[in-house]
């Protein structure tokens, strides 16, 4: 009789651990796909941004709007990181 809880524990724990490991695998698999998509998005949208402290080529560096804003007040469309 005294072995019953231990048997139940063993019968539950091992499959629960296996099932949870399976869910971790699925979640991280989804994460891999999402992060790969973000990497692609970043390369596509930010590849024109020059390294920190360097100026972008003139053609890409046009300020977007706001002619009344001074250069110091408004940063250009192409960001310098």
């Amino acid at each position: 009789m005294s072995d019953a809880p231990e048997r139940l524990r063993t019968a539950v724990l091992a499959p629960a651990q296996e099932a949870f490991t399976g869910s971790l695998h699925v979640v991280t698999g989804i994460g891999a796909v999402l992060l790969a998509a973000v990497a692609l998005l970043i390369v596509t949208k930010l590849r024109h941004v020059p390294p920190v402290g360097q100026e972008a080529p003139a053609a890409e560096d046009a300020p977007e709007t706001a002619p009344e804003a001074s250069a110091d007040e408004r940063r250009p469309e192409v960001a310098k990181v």
Binding site: A11, F20, L24, G31, L35, I42, D72, R74
Partner: protein, 450 residues
């Protein structure tokens, strides 16, 4: 704006950054330390499980709810002024929390801490933007700013654990007070003031709509993760989405909106925010499942599983420090994307591993590789916004982190729970419990990335 055209920051600005690092460090520190103190304070105050959840959650709810308002408010009334007001309230709320005599009093103090906390991150980011006009210096300053979050998560359990063993639970809340006093004393001397003199008054209906949208949305998303597809959280999400839509429509009509939606017409700005949101989403979900894996499969205690995340926090701190230097040589797109490819490899390894050690080491590599997305991403968001909107832009970056983490726990966590239930069906005795091990949304022992 380039480094050659602008004035470089001097000693005063770097001293100012050291002062700004204090509240940044404390916000992260407080999250970790409360998790350690929760068992003691619950026993002392007689808090039931529902009250314990509110003690934990109310802070995050109100922090996320007030971020947008506070970011814009700082731009209007002055960033330094808002920071100093927030620091004062944070100090008073910390003292109230420390000497709480009932769960209700502690929940109220935590609510006040959340509102005060919402002033800190956007104000500090906006002030960094004001103080560091040089691109390289600003990137470095934001790297240090980001590193303070992870440093808080590392030092939190060490110092907090010592305080809890030596003094009563309330002592951990008092740790923040000297730092806030130092900020109040040194801030006016070393921090510049900046406010948008052309901006009109804050649109109060927009504030109300933003709170009516964000608060139910965050509550609903967290409860969906905790309780499953119940009617109340589902209704909360729908109410949040409704008011969120009304908020956006109002912003489009106003000449001086709370959030300038035209910022999103800049592709770099939108893509960076989207990337930060997704990274936080994946990071939050991975952290939650990893800590549960440590406990359920690895047999570690809650505290041990929290400590197992520390190498990851340390790796992120190092990466935050070196990323700005690398970014002077490599285009940010390639640095961020290269780091993200590293995180993809980590996730592929996680998706096949059965080892706790692999997960601990892998999480450290993941955090290291993901740091450029956070550090350079924050810098890009700030850099792409006009100077007078830096507070608003900073609050949007913070919102992405808060929402991303909550969404990751809810959405990806729900998928993980479904997989768990599917796999366990039929493999355990009929009378054995089948509930998912996916924990309360507050169970993650480490704060989300900054």
């Amino acid at each position: 704006m380039t480094s050659g055209e602008t004035t470089k920051a001097g000693r005063r600005e770097w001293l100012g950054l050291a002062v700004l690092a204090l509240p940044t460090f404390l916000v992260s520190f407080d999250i970790f330390v409360l998790l350690l103190a929760l068992p003691q304070l619950s026993a002392d105050l007689g808090a039931n499980s529902n009250e314990q959840l509110w003690i934990m959650d109310i802070y995050g709810f109100l922090l996320a709810g007030f971020l947008l308002t506070m970011g814009t408010l700082g731009d209007r009334i002055g960033r330094r002024k808002l920071l100093l007001i927030g620091a004062t309230v944070f100090g008073v709320a910390s003292a109230t929390a420390a000497f709480s005599t009932s769960p209700e009093m502690l929940i109220a103090a935590r609510a006040l801490l959340g509102i005060a906390g919402a002033t800190l991150a956007p104000s500090t980011l906006a002030l960094i933007s004001t103080m560091f006009r040089d691109d390289k210096q600003r990137a470095g300053a934001i790297g240090i700013w980001g590193g303070m979050f992870t440093l808080g998560a590392i030092i939190g359990p060490i110092l907090g654990g010592f305080m809890l063993q030596t003094f009563w639970w309330g002592s951990v809340f008092l740790l923040g007070i000297p730092a806030m006093v130092l900020l109040l004393v040194a801030g006016p001397a070393v921090l510049p003031e900046f406010r948008d003199t052309k901006a009109g008054r804050v649109d109060l209906p927009s504030v109300a709509l933003s709170l009516a949208g964000i608060l139910p949305l965050i509550y609903g998303v967290k409860e969906l993760a905790r309780a499953g597809w119940e009617p109340l959280p589902l209704a909360a999400v729908l109410v949040g989405l409704l008011f969120g839509t009304l908020f956006i429509r109002r912003q489009r009509r106003l000449s001086d909106p709370l959030v300038d939606l035209s910022l999103f017409s800049n592709g770099s700005f939108s893509a960076t925010l989207g990337g930060m949101l997704t990274y936080s989403l994946v990071g939050g979900a991975t952290m939650l499942f990893a800590t549960q894996f440590f406990q359920l499969v690895g047999g570690l205690s809650t505290l041990e599983s929290g400590l197992a995340m520390l190498p990851g926090m340390a790796a992120a701190t190092v990466a935050f420090a070196i990323t700005p230097g690398l970014a002077t040589k490599v285009r940010p797109a390639f640095l961020i994307a290269g780091g993200l490819l590293g995180t993809v490899i980590c996730m592929i390894v996680f998706s096949t591993t059965h080892s706790v050690t692999t997960l601990v080491v892998g999480f450290a590599v993941f955090s290291f590789c993901g740091a450029p997305m956070v550090a350079l991403g924050t810098n890009l968001v700030i850099a792409n916004a006009p100077m007078e909107k830096a507070g608003s832009a900073g609050s949007l970056a913070q919102m992405c982190n808060e929402f991303g983490s909550a969404l990751g726990i809810a959405v990806v966590g729900t998928i993980g729970s479904a997989v768990y239930r599917h796999q366990i069906d039929g493999s355990v005795p009929a009378d054995a419990p089948r509930s998912s091990p996916t924990p309360p949304a507050t169970a993650s022992p480490v704060p989300p990335p900054p």
